[in-house]
Symmetry: C2
Subunit: 458 residues, 2 copies
Amino acid sequence: MTQTTLDYLAARQERILTELIEFAAIPSISTDPAHRADIERSAAWVAGQIAAAGPFDVQIIPTERHPVVFAQWLGATGKPTVLVYGHYDVQPADPLEKWISPPFTPTIRNGRLYARGASDDKGPLFQAIKTAQAFFATQDALPINVKFLFEGEEEIGSPSLEPFIQAHTSLLAADFVISADGGMWRVEEPSLTVSSRGLAGLEFSLTAAAKDLHSGRHGGAVTNPLHAIAALIASLHTPDGRVAVADFYDDVVELSAAERAAIAALPFDEAAYLAEIGAPALFGEPGYSTLERQWIRPTLEVNGLWGGYQGPGVKTVTPAEAHAKITCRLVPNQDPAAIVARIAHHLEAHLPPGVRLTIQPETHTAQPYAIPADHFGLKTAAAALRETFGVEPVTVRMGGTVPVCEVFKRVMGLDTVFFSFSTADEDFHAPNEFFRIHRLYEGLEAWVRYWELLGSSR
Amino acid sequence: MTQTTLDYLAARQERILTELIEFAAIPSISTDPAHRADIERSAAWVAGQIAAAGPFDVQIIPTERHPVVFAQWLGATGKPTVLVYGHYDVQPADPLEKWISPPFTPTIRNGRLYARGASDDKGPLFQAIKTAQAFFATQDALPINVKFLFEGEEEIGSPSLEPFIQAHTSLLAADFVISADGGMWRVEEPSLTVSSRGLAGLEFSLTAAAKDLHSGRHGGAVTNPLHAIAALIASLHTPDGRVAVADFYDDVVELSAAERAAIAALPFDEAAYLAEIGAPALFGEPGYSTLERQWIRPTLEVNGLWGGYQGPGVKTVTPAEAHAKITCRLVPNQDPAAIVARIAHHLEAHLPPGVRLTIQPETHTAQPYAIPADHFGLKTAAAALRETFGVEPVTVRMGGTVPVCEVFKRVMGLDTVFFSFSTADEDFHAPNEFFRIHRLYEGLEAWVRYWELLGSSR
């Protein structure tokens, strides 16, 4: 049966590409109110494609801002139910002058489709719809029950998504989530992403005098808040790069030797990485590799630091205040609120004399997320990739935060399998975003195999 | 003879005040090209007053920007020659709406003359001219040889003064300088200022990656320049407040026990000082009092510190760069260039791994200055104040930098005695500047006594 479905897709590659070009031509920029009609058009285009793919129940559901396209087909009695997530909105395209071809005039060059949103996330989202179409066309059914949840706010932080999920937990009920958003780390080796880091943060300020003081008249007699904030920030790490906040690492779940060995086995060229980012050296927590520092270890980073005079030349002030912004990347099982409390305690305990401290916790936090290594959906995804690419997919992780999988876990208890065929180098948020056309076809095959394997498992 | 001269002045108090009101009504704002004609008018007014005072050789000498009024009378053969310094320009008056009476409509309230420049420096400068007039009127001569050097650029940093002095060292030759600019620290006790601190500085930057990095993807693997700059700045001081730069204090001339005892004997209310500046506590180098920290100890102060994101909310970047501006207040015999070199060496030696350092020395430096405690002009000034006020004047110091005395010392080898009758609380650079009218008359008496004592000394 698989072959029939795959043959169907193989025979229609050019037509699928043409349709994707049509989709990518819609400038569905979610952040720009001027593109509100394009967002509506994009949602309608997606809904229309789903309706054309088969007997789905399709809805365009309004939210506070941009609509959700929801669809479901639940005809595979006794089979697993998956909730496929993706987004039909795109990043802004500026700076426009840096695009070789216009961002919303999708253009093929060297086997790549260049267009804003082609890789993030229109191509990968479209693959799921075309997979459904291929099954319905060749088998009159899907091998599993499928729900589609495609939002239009991902590029603006998904403000309506969590309320939407909370309001529709029954409608969205599934065994697990397959995210068509995400992407593989490199084009050379198929990969599955199994964890992302959480986020916590705070801003703090130190004040001394009521206003900036003349450093001649007063300098030396009162605490300079810039000296104090430097000492306080320096106290947050040991000189060799560990976070020095008490109990910071207490709740960290250490990876198994096998998991660490898998990371160590990944090809990673440190010199190439340094050249890519332009830094003179690698530096981080002792005892961990660069990939481990980015993926499985928590961080505490100062994102902004300021006080006093920043203009040209000299201004001889002892400033009245100093400010810093801090965020942490968290790993299982660190809790954002507990981490903020520990940092706040550290700041209070290490406060230099002569300054006042105020702390503003950041309300926008996220739990770290990891899918269990033996998760049924994850293992089946690995099998589908192995069948498609002929190699065992590697296990990778994300240093960043993926709010959507954290929300699905927290609100609905659902794990998320990242199953996307974009690649991390495809300039998602930059000029000349592209999607590899061979990945469009490889991904369609992998989606077919994934659903077949899920359907045959029980 | 003194009594005759003093009687002459006492009989003319009201007329002298009226003339000062005329002088203070000229809006000689040096920074504002729109007031160029007022600067010229102010210089001419001063020159006219000197010419009317007696048989001076008066010149208005152009410079690159605003003219110098120079005058001399050298008829006291065998007597000392003093160079009296002052400035006829004034600060801008804005914010105008905060003035109770208009800044250039001099107004008397509660025994004070309110006007921009009344205290800084028109009143004190005018006292020197009227002193000369009183001597010529009553004795047909001055008791000493007197040169006047009144500039019009003090409030814009005296850019033409050093070139002028360098070009006119013979014309300006004198035994020492008496500065009519400066002012006493408090109205309660007559004071003589005997030192000012020097200035040196640098700006430095740390860079890591070529651009700001996503703190999720890269955080933890490369040095965060904000962490590095915090550690580097923290390393510049010991936690208890000493400068930790090697050899920083090497050239500092320690004060004698008697000099330190004189500072300790000065009344200084720490609680009132803290209330004035609004700081929660005093903090500084161990082993020294607050006044000592401000006057006789060198400082290293970060005046500005910045890097990363400073806007509202969160931006999860690992910044590419961090910057700091540093100035030092120096005391005898610290050398600005040597201090900058030592700080640069410290920064290089303590540079955290993974960042690049660039240092930009500040070219605007000043030597520290102190007049020898046994200087003839200083001791005679103390005697004149004692005779005038009936109490021993206290010895005070300045935490700030007075470029003019540093230039006189460096270029001509001349020491400077500050002999001004303005008071530090007279809002020089703020709205509602005023000059105490009783200080106008007390100062005239003190100038007469000072010149008489200088003239009778040899």
